[in-house]
Point group: C2
Chain length 432, copies 2
């Protein structure tokens, strides 16, 4: 059967990883795909000693790749927004299929890109953008396609999970671990995307669209980072039988789609609570299947290349098929318009850490504020103050309540004479 010809744009970590997997596993890949997959051209501003391209046509202009008439599939691994978008759209315009690892591009410009691809009868594949080597896009769009997906929850940023794991295992504080993560190369010099949850929100946005068949709407994804988590919170959570993870959580409720990324207490017995270090994991609950868990390495050259190459093999197998034989970009022929809930309208349980003065009546006042708003207390720890300190920490777990009611309760608690400073609030998910 005719070989399929690939052009790789970008020769960084993932680009060189993809080059090496395609060449190193060429024999195995041909056996699987039923035809040869050839790297026809590489577009990269510079060589990378990690990939031996001496026998490959290398161009310094990535746009050459997008217009190369020999090429069937353009692999976009340059990252970023503007140039990547231009490249992908040019490839589509030239009738190429596209494979990308760029979740930011898909989450923020996917609607436009997919529409262009559909008009041209080509596909844009993006498995590598989410949770690295874990084939979660395929699981949601195909493997669990018979289900109405009820909810999903994912540890989908390895840097954040590494930081929280270190904080827990060694009692270290956030800034300290972040610095180490940067030295180890797990975190970028500018760690905002990772620790603020933006990267996770990109991924969650995509996962939710393919889970529920809703439009990509990154702008409606609530996002809270892990910078405010203290070693004490990690410790208190532990005492209560929970782990703190930076979780992307999404569910389909009668009132709308719940879509949010934030630090989350998870009961320690749940499998996903035990996913440590730079690993990623996604739980998916479907109405037929129940709970499933997918875990593995969420980043790095090999795992990301694994996903890129799987997408290439899929496209190669389907290259002679009508467009309708390929999976719809978001897993659904048509998305529906179910709205994303504003964060004030979500319902969840809460962990509260309230700095209180050690005075009679403070606890009673807090309990009254909660009770008046119909907020039930599930568990409570009151810690003695350290010597010489006036403040005691009151730690509460509440039952499930609407966020706006909790906001109001927190304002009232902070206004009490007996409390001092801000209440720390971390959402709790039971994942059942």
């Amino acid at each position: 059967m005719k070989a399929v010809k690939v052009g790789i744009c970008g020769l960084g970590t993932v680009g060189s990883g993809t080059f090496n997997v395609l060449t190193g596993n060429a024999q195995e890949i041909t056996r699987r795909a039923g035809r040869e997959i050839i790297i026809q051209q590489v577009g990269s501003r510079r060589d990378n000693p990690a990939a031996d391209t001496s026998n490959t046509d290398v161009t310094r202009d990535i746009f050459d790749v997008a217009t190369n008439p020999e090429i069937d599939i353009v692999v976009e691994l340059i990252g970023g927004y503007d140039v990547a978008k231009k490249l992908v759209l040019l490839a589509i315009e030239n009738g190429k299929h596209v494979v990308t690892a760029n979740k930011a591009l898909i989450a923020e410009h996917g609607t436009e890109i997919f529409a262009a691809a559909e008009a041209k009868g080509v596909s844009v594949m993006y498995e590598a953008g989410i949770a690295g080597g874990i084939p979660i896009v395929k699981a949601l769009r195909e493997g669990l396609a018979g289900n109405k997906i009820n909810w999903l929850a994912g540890i989908i940023n390895g840097t954040g999970n590494f930081i929280l794991t270190e904080m827990r295992d060694k009692g270290r504080d956030f800034a300290d671990v972040l610095k180490e993560a940067q030295e180890l190369g797990y975190a970028e010099a500018d760690p905002t995307f990772d620790v603020e949850g933006i990267d996770a929100a990109h991924k969650l946005t995509i996962l939710s669209s393919i889970a529920y068949g809703i439009p990509l709407q990154f702008e409606n994804c609530f996002c809270e980072g892990i910078g405010g988590i203290t070693p004490e919170d990690v410790q208190y959570a532990e005492e209560l039988g929970y782990r703190i993870k930076h979780l992307g959580v999404s569910s389909r409720t009668a009132r709308g789609i719940d879509l949010r990324v934030h630090p989350t207490l998870i009961p320690e017995k749940r499998s996903i609570a035990k996913i440590d270090g730079v690993l990623n994991a996604i739980m998916v609950n479907g109405d037929a299947v129940g709970d499933t868990l997918f875990s593995g390495p969420g980043a790095g050259a090999g795992p990301t290349a694994s996903a890129v190459v799987a997408d290439i093999i899929d496209l190669a197998r389907l290259i002679d098929a009508p467009a309708s034989s390929r999976v719809h970009h978001l897993g659904y022929k048509q998305v529906d318009d179910t709205k994303v809930l504003p964060i004030e309208d979500i319902e969840t349980a809460y962990y509260l850490r309230i700095p209180a003065l050690d005075k009679t009546g403070v606890l009673a006042n807090i309990a009254t504020i909660l009770s008046e708003r119909g907020i039930n207390i599930e568990a409570l720890i009151q810690k003695e103050q350290a010597e010489g300190e006036e403040i005691v920490q009151v730690i509460l777990l509440t039952h499930i309540i609407q966020e706006k009611i909790m906001n109001d309760a927190i304002s009232a608690i902070q206004a009490l004479e007996g409390t001092q400073g801000d209440v720390t609030r971390i959402r709790v998910e039971y994942l059942v």
Copy 2:
């Protein structure tokens, strides 16, 4: 687009589950598949109150379904060998695609069935046969297709895992828990398939073929049940930092394919060691991706139906595509002839429990036997005998050694004057 018409054969637990998912989620499924999927006919000897077939064409002769000219996809959910095989081959002969949950049929007659299907240009899908709702066949054949798979290990029989979990959690013995499992409906009246590992060996046979591209060869899969595991072994394993699981283990070594099902000690820190109860889980190690873990419910109406329906949707999407666009039955266009290693040639670490008389020199003799054969001891526990007993239990963990050398060592230990009765041997896998 033209609707795809399905005929369901068998209306037991999985058949009625599939009927209910296809009808209950019809709207969602149409949105995903891009066309309607209609249940054209059901073939079943009797009705099942779990599925309301009052508006469906029901025949008492399942072979009617296989020859029904209206039907595109025949779903075989009757189980067993002879009739199921006849049905599947008749459906293929009539140009139908087939979806089945029958791992025994595929593991033992897959080669013949796939050849017939390929000759007719149709596909036989079997995701539901392995690990219920976990889309592991799809993960191996497609999601991880860029990898050379190095090894995989799975808890792929829920009954066995339930029994071992209960034995560990409550210190109960095998026979006692088996009886409860039968009462709960987790285990069949004849539990041989589950507890002897035959069911797991069927699944492992299939997983290994699609992981490495080797022919189905159930007859070469080594198989050992869990009936010989005692609560004491579970306890000793725990003391050493391990859990005992009934594991299917398979790897691609330079000397051949390692393919075996047996009770296995796994370090308790490995995620798969924590998969408890009736859950299933599969670890897959690929050269690019590293370690991945897939877990979820391995049986039951809903989870199995989830996989059946996913296969139906895949076929529906590809119904107008050339045969080459569908995934090869074993994930490879051609399988190769890598041999399965005889069990004597495999290499693994071992747990040994040696009943010894409490006499000077016995331990030294055991150590000498091991040392003479190049077997290193990794850990050792010697338990005092219970009051009034003469026998002490010597528990050993060894380094990795070839099975035939271990067999020889065990014979020599059993021949010692200072030991009494059989040595218990459980293989140990580190899964790294």
